[in-house]
Subunit: 337 residues, 2 copies
DNA sequence: CTGAATGCAACAAACGATTGCATTGATAGT
DNA sequence: ACTATCAATGCAATCGTTTGTTGCATTCAG
């Protein structure tokens, strides 16, 4: 009969080492309370049997989860897949930032059917805190949970009177930047591609309108409510181009994804960018400088955003009631304008 | 004095209901052992205090983790960010498939420095199984863990003699498909953009070479080892175009991301696609039909791939020693060829 | 009216760790 | 030689559940 197989828990290892479980626990934690010699021996033994203490049991005792829930609520825009490049870019940065802090990332794509979707996660005891990527149309639910649960932060708009902590860029200002740039480029006739049902988008639109009003061109804007996915944006835009009599010469897209669809649709209609029409996107995702022509866009610094989100979250986990953060959007000029 | 605050655990609720904790547990699980009347009363009470049993404690007792680890090993190609659209697309599908099975997704971006990176996750007790997105250059480590740990599957190549279970498309065949298509389009002079250091890429290249040899054009292929990220691929390609004397008329890109960079570089060099040069990508990611012109590409069905990965994983969790799956790649013809 | 069958709920032992406190030896101080 | 001190380890309670076993009332057949 062999050694009775693998070492499954701290008690097995204790027997093997001829000590008590408590001693093993301390030894593996490298506690000074245990003689260096014993510690080394036990650690060596653990390595030999490649034994690792059960994290779940540890977390239960220690009362922490070691994981942060990252939720992507898809309320409106149900067609929007989790693999939307914007979400994914932010997710990537979050993964890095959380790993750095020694926490795991529990990913959840959630389609809010009942109002319990958020508490189900935060009250489950599986996570030490939660990060929402986008608020979708769930402001009420988010605010209500945020009222009693501190470690919760969201990417998105910072609206007056909102209870929860958010990180996002100044969408209104972004819209202004884009529009001013187009005005400088000599555009006189504008179109906004994007559905203002989402708060961020409607802010961007508001910024655009304001900039035009400032320039005395308040009535030169057409709004085309294009959805945020490429699959739905392209046909919408294409159809619109077919039907429109006078083409605008400045297009403000609510996202890079929409801008990319616009570039394609314009190309298919034989319209030259930027000669005939100038296009500005929003986000500055990785692909934005790989389009033909490379896209002028409003950059949201998602790396900085992720860092802020994580930073605020951990301060809240520590008990601090932090405020929100609004990032400055910047204009990145490339060849589409 | 109020009700002493929140209900934190099953015992609190038991006291409140005047029953034992065990009864509460059974009641919340809707066990027939508890009288319907008692069950209802307790469930109602739980709802009122929106109490949810602690998942970690439950999992500890029940000996399951309720989560699947999804690991993205970044061995070679360290520049490759987690937000690579390919990874993210697959991740999205995985998130959906796992959620459907009632499991959480524990995301980990791992840069393998020591060989313990994989066991650290699977032996931690936090996950019921693990899915690797890509094998990177870690075949040895993966195979060694797979030898003793059943619930492990990987997206990637299916190599002869490999111990671990994998799901991936037939890269060699994909390379052949792309090349045959270009031959049919009348191309006579070819370039392959991609670094064959990764096993998948080298298979795609092998397929391309084979197809050319078949057609008696074995020496008509130039290889440009472009990296998989857009940031690095574009300058490489651009430089190459500057220096090359005779332009190929057929380009096989190892991925859609590389193809997109190629499209841009070609456009910048005033080369018309597809009139002068035909381009085929690989993957068929969401953006592939939004490029200018829309990209002809080899489609890997990632939705099906994710379903297979999850399916195999759960069969392995149940104890079955499954084989690997190889998916058929298909050609999607658009306007770049 | 007695004894067996049945339905409900309580009890207590796990799951695998951590940690305050008690205990043990050995060394040192007087 | 006797005790005070201290370092090293063991003991046992605890985290919040689940679940096999047991015990107490009923109910019903005979």
């Amino acid at each position: 009969m062999a050694d009775q197989g693998r070492i499954r828990n701290i008690t097995d290892l204790a027997k093997l080492a001829g000590v008590s479980p408590g001693t093993v626990s301390r030894a593996l934690a490298d506690s000074q309370l245990i003689a260096k010699k014993t510690r080394d021996r036990i650690q060596q033994l653990a390595r030999e049997h490649d034994f690792r203490p059960n994290v779940m049991a540890r977390n239960l005792r220690i009362k922490r989860a070691g994981a942060i829930g990252v939720l992507i609520p898809l309320g409106h825009e149900t067609g929007q897949h989790i693999s939307d490049p914007f979400f994914m870019t932010l997710l990537g940065y979050l993964a890095d930032a959380l790993t750095e802090r020694g926490h795991d990332l529990l990913l959840s794509r959630v389609i809010p059917t009942d109002p319990g979707w958020l508490s189900r996660v935060v009250d489950s005891g599986r996570v030490d805190g939660a990060i929402l990527i986008g608020q979708s149309d769930q402001l009420a639910v988010i605010d209500s949970v945020a009222g009693r649960y501190l470690p919760l932060v969201a990417w998105g708009a910072n609206l007056p009177g909102q209870v929860h902590c958010s990180v996002g860029s100044d969408n209104r200002k972004g819209g202004e930047l884009a529009t001013r740039h187009l005005i400088e480029r000599g555009c006189r006739n504008f179109a906004f591609f994007g559905d203002p049902v989402a708060p961020e988008i409607s802010e961007r639109l508001a910024g655009a309108s304001a900039a035009l009003a400032d320039a005395g061109m308040g009535d030169a804007l057409t709004i085309l409510p294009a959805h945020l996915t490429a699959e739905t944006a392209h046909p919408t835009i294409s159809k619109w181009l077919d039907e429109t009599k006078t083409l605008p010469n400045g297009i403000i897209a609510a996202s890079d994804v929409i801008a990319m669809s616009a570039l394609r649709a314009l190309s298919e209609h034989g319209v030259s960018v930027p000669r005939e029409v100038h296009v500005v996107g929003y986000d500055d995702l990785a692909f934005a400088n790989q389009t033909v022509p490379p896209l002028t866009t409003i950059r949201q610094d998602l790396a900085a955003g992720a860092t802020h989100l994580v930073d605020l979250l951990f301060r809240r986990i520590a008990g601090e009631n932090t405020g929100s953060v609004v990032l400055e959007p910047t204009l990145v000029v490339r060849q589409s304008s």
